[in-house]
Symmetry: C2
């Protein structure tokens, strides 16, 4: 069903048909469909979603559309939606909404929920607490398997949240029991007999990226979250972990291109925000690039005597810049997936030195030969370019691999030390090396 | 327990203690620990892992260590490990091993398993078939909930594979039933009464990345895989989907830095392989950069007359290059997460044009003023740099956003159209624009 179909059916008041086809749709697709509708139609269409699907669909929508709906819905409708929503989704919703909308939402939640929401909202951004789900199945150590299965039947909320149950005594997490374990064990056994007691947990204040990595590394469906006192407070489900993984990568790629990362999607970010995200780094890099320019002026006599020297500047700058960004990109990514650790720093540098030796000599030979042929056997020129390439490429790869590690060492995001910044450093170096060799060779 | 502890305990033959502490460890950590041991110790230690954990631990190890073990184990030990391994893991193992090792492994698997393995190995690399799990719980539509739960108890292999059961009739997938649905429904109901019949599936020959995206988008724990005839053949589990997500991103980041992506980790890739992955693109880019050089030579008189012109080349090249890579990075990532689609091409271009207007004018003004002050009120020079920046930056952002979309349109990987290639294009353009404005302004 396309947005056009929906509009037509709405025009012709064929609400029953809309209801039917909505009922067959997956909530994720339904949310996307609604977002494509004009405001009025979207609100009408949303009211035609079955009670069971409404909350889930609402959770899948973009905050802009969510706000429109919250403002359009009646108290009763709004409460119905909020009651069926997961608390972490409601918390995310509150973070996005303007004050007046937040008030309306809170006014429609009971006291206990409000308390939990405030708790969730109090966790720092990007912390585990800010992404965790507070709904999970907790069991007592002495419960029988039979009793536990009955409890799941009663409280079981949603797949991710029932497939691992948590054995808790005075708020402390003793162990986990998978739904599988419950299914295959003797009904009379007690939970503590079958529970897995060596468990991976994470703290509410840890970085959400750490949680995502643990979920990935150990192939978990849910990761239990404990607070500073070691009390179980929630879980991070695998689907949220995947979202975090994706967002963190998007942020890294933006940083690596010298763009201030933005939470919103490309289109939902305004032109001014886009410009604002790009200009600061461009200015810094532009001004530092003028340094390279000043170095060049120092060698004015050199290229006034031999103008052809100027024509090699772009090739030298680009090549060394590319080498630098190649190694920085590999190191940054390697560190992001814990493939490279800070203690490996020396191994990395030694490896890059050997790679640089191979790369630089290859480029030097190819280019040397090319120049020797193209510039009537000008051996000196060929030698100059060759030698410059060997020095600059080697230097570039060293800078490219060390800066990201240095950044991490200084608790900065290594992704900052990518192509743009590296290139600026490397250019200045390349130009200096180039002209000092040139002046020496051609004694100008 | 550190690798040193293990070595000591092995020396002093305290096998019981090793066994005990291994039993308490998570297989993922155990695998990492073994990998850090010297060969002899690793083999000894592996033999001390409990039968239940051995296969899982083996699956978590790097192929280099797996090969050492396969060659060291006796037929009986090897068969024991292989029997407990998931077929998709065994298939991955076979892909990595040399022929003689493959023979040994196949010799130790029964005919049926061999048939399934060959099937798995026949799927193209990066296809869904190559990452799917063939173990899953299939139910018949008329089975009761009770019978289904019993079947899970009997065949249930591993968490991911039991939480969603597949209702199948003559090999066709009719619907899915979650373990949750089974747990909360009346035992006498039939499976088809409670099954979810509008399901998301994927084809064996689709790209593994598509599977990962579906798992993420719909928050699935497992995604059913059907062959060309629409028969159910396997599932993609969420943990495998996360691996795919991670590998695809690593590949993109490498491509974006003009490095041929490699399957192996940074350290397990040899120096020669590293060089081999980097040199080809460097050569291409280096030679195309000489084009920019040739353009410069065309304007020799210009900078012979006004040498200071040369000193702005690096700043202009870097700035326009950075702008180009900023927009290309955003577009490449946007398309990777389906945030930007090809049909949005014009919207993107229009957005980038407006961003470019803001960015370029800001940079132009800042730089113009700087030059006006630093070069004794040389208005002409300030104007030249300002105008050049406006043209080149705008052009750069347009090239930066269109090339990735063009690549996708041509079924190429958009990640190829990132900083390095964009910069090369943009440099040539920037230099041309710069000198043509210069010659016009200063009529040299």
């Amino acid at each position: 069903m396309t947005e056009r179909d929906v509009c037509e059916l709405l025009e012709t008041k064929q609400y029953k048909r809309i209801k039917e086809s909505f009922a067959e749709m997956n909530q994720v697709d339904l949310a996307e469909l609604l977002e494509e509708l004009p405001e009025r139609q979207m609100i009408m269409a949303f009211r035609l979603i079955g009670k069971e699907e409404a909350a889930e669909t609402f959770s899948c929508m973009e905050s802009r559309e969510q706000q429109i709906l919250v403002e359009a819905l009646t108290e009763r409708e709004l409460r119905a939606v909020l009651d069926d929503m997961f608390l972490d989704d409601t918390a995310d919703l509150l973070e996005e909404m303007p004050a007046n909308v937040v008030e309306r939402i809170l006014a429609n939640t009971d006291l206990e929920t409000r308390r939990q929401l405030n708790q969730l909202l109090s966790y720092p951004e990007d912390s585990v607490g800010s992404i965790m789900t507070v709904e999970y199945v907790d069991l007592k150590p002495h419960m029988t398997v039979k009793a536990s299965l009955e409890k799941i039947r009663r409280v079981g909320i949603d797949s991710e949240t029932i497939y691992t149950c948590y054995v808790i005594q005075n708020k402390k997490l003793l162990g986990i029991v998978t739904a599988k374990a419950l299914l295959i064990s003797d009904e009379r056994k007690s939970v503590q007999e079958i529970m897995e007691s060596n468990i991976i947990t994470i703290n509410t204040h840890d970085d959400q990226e750490t949680a995502a990595k643990l979920v990935r590394k150990y192939g978990l469906i849910a990761l239990p979250v404990v607070d500073r006192e070691g009390c179980m407070v929630g879980i991070v489900t695998v689907d949220d972990a995947m979202e975090v993984m994706q967002d963190e990568v998007t942020e890294d790629i933006a940083l690596m291109a010298a763009v201030a990362p933005s939470e919103d999607s490309y289109f939902s970010t305004s032109v001014f925000r886009h410009a604002g995200n790009r200009i600061p780094w461009l200015l810094i890099l532009m001004l530092s690039a003028t340094l390279t320019g000043m170095i060049i002026t120092k060698y004015e006599m050199a290229f006034e005597a031999i103008p052809v020297l100027v024509s090699f500047i772009p090739m030298l700058m680009d090549t060394s810049g590319n080498c630098g960004s190649q190694s920085s990109a590999l190191i940054i990514r390697g560190m992001a997936i814990d493939d490279i650790r800070l203690k490996d720093a020396l191994r990395v540098i030694w490896k890059e030195i050997r790679v640089a030796a191979l790369v630089s000599s290859t480029l030097a030979v190819v280019n040397g030969v090319r120049i020797y042929i193209m510039y009537q056997q000008n051996l000196k020129l060929a030698a100059l370019i060759g030698m410059t390439l060997i020095c600059t490429v080697t230097l570039a790869e060293l800078i490219g691999c060390s800066l990201p590690m240095l950044a991490k060492r200084c608790k900065l995001d290594p992704a900052l030390m990518a192509a743009p910044l590296i290139t600026t450093f490397v250019d200045a170096a390349a130009i200096t090396i180039y002209f000092s060799i040139a002046t020496a060779l051609f004694n100008v």
